[in-house]
Amino acid sequence: MSSAKRSNEPIVWFLFGVGGFFAAYFLPIHIMLYGLAFPLGLAPDPGYDKTYALLQNPLTRLYLFVLIMFCFFHAAHRMRLTLSDILNMRHLNTILAFVCYGGAIVGTVAAIWMLAVVH
């Protein structure tokens, strides 16, 4: 029985699951504030300087890194399953996984780079 091959899917599902949590609870806050409320004047805009100052705190950078990374992997997993099942591309599973998760890794590295170089 224990010789049965267990799937390695748990790792991507874990990233997808945690990413779902961030994408559902935290991402909308940022979109609401920086995408709608501040530009439309619905809330007082903190302005560049205050936002920039906030970014100087390593905890802010750590938070943004975690938020961006998990959201990328959430999107990658969802994209892979959508393409493979809805668009019937199951036979391309390896390529899809490579492109989707590879994209998420590239996005995460780009986020690390940006968070590292902003001073």
Partner: protein, 246 residues
């Protein structure tokens, strides 16, 4: 309102036909009739060659599942009147090979069901001398999953089981989960080996149609997601503490 309704029934004779076709029957539209009553009317009065499965007529045996106007339902608890003025399309369950007309082949499902060991597994030499006492909370933990009647509507509704015939599928996983959650059971480890394979829980993409169509209010989708969490914990555990059996 008209006192009859047209039933378009899918017909397929394996020795004669290469493709299924629809045949229309005009049946009485009675307020107290289920779709199954209409099918029985056809069989008794109009065409005795129509093949379909049924038994209890009360949503317990799970044998009369068919596709009614594109949705998998138990014909014994689907009112004919709901489809007035008609026509109503009745076909066999999707994602199963058709034996004849509305009868589908269940062998594959039965094999999958057996694979997940849906019974109480004991590792010790357990010979109860009296009832095995369970608290209401322990019963509550698995009760809803024990209501499954193996009607396989969830397999017909699940797009993944249509795409991948190896997918163990909603009902079998929900039943495995039912025994995993049972305080008397000790078979979790064995089932995990089967269910945590790719064709087990990981094939599921949380479409959720299985839970929507279930006539008994079972939530197989929930069972699968809970199982994914368990399997993920076990995966990380086996990664951190490589397999030395304790």
């Amino acid at each position: 309102m008209a006192d009859t309704i047209i039933l378009e029934v899918e017909r397929f004779h394996p020795e004669r036909d290469t493709e299924p076709s629809y045949q229309s029957f005009e049946v009485p539209l009675r307020a107290d009739w289920m779709v199954l009553d209409a099918l029985n009317f056809i069989k008794d009065q109009l065409d005795g060659s129509l093949a379909f499965r049924w038994s209890c007529r009360m949503g317990i045996c799970g044998s009369c599942g068919m596709t009614i106007n594109g949705v998998p339902k138990l014909t014994c608890e689907t009112l004919l009147m709901d489809f007035a003025p008609g026509p109503v399309r009745v076909g066999p369950l999707d994602h199963f090979p058709v034996v004849k007309d509305l009868v589908v082949e269940m062998d594959d499902f039965m094999a999958k069901l057996q694979k997940v060991r849906p019974w109480i597994v004991r590792k010790d030499d357990f010979k109860p001398q009296r009832e095995f006492i369970q608290t209401p909370a322990q019963l509550e933990a698995f009760h809803q999953f024990s209501l499954c009647i193996n009607c396989t509507l969830c397999y017909a509704a699940c797009p993944v089981s249509g795409l991948d015939s190896n997918f163990i599928g909603p009902a079998a996983i929900a039943l495995a989960h039912r025994y995993n959650l049972d305080s008397r059971d000790q078979g979790q480890e064995d089932r995990l080996d089967i269910i945590s394979q790719h064709e087990g829980i990981w094939d599921c993409t949380v479409v959720g149609e299985c839970s929507t169509v279930c006539p008994k209010g079972v939530d197989p989708s929930l069972a699968i997601q809970q199982y994914k969490l368990t399997a993920t914990k076990e995966w990380f555990k086996s990664f951190l503490l490589p397999r030395g059996k304790n």
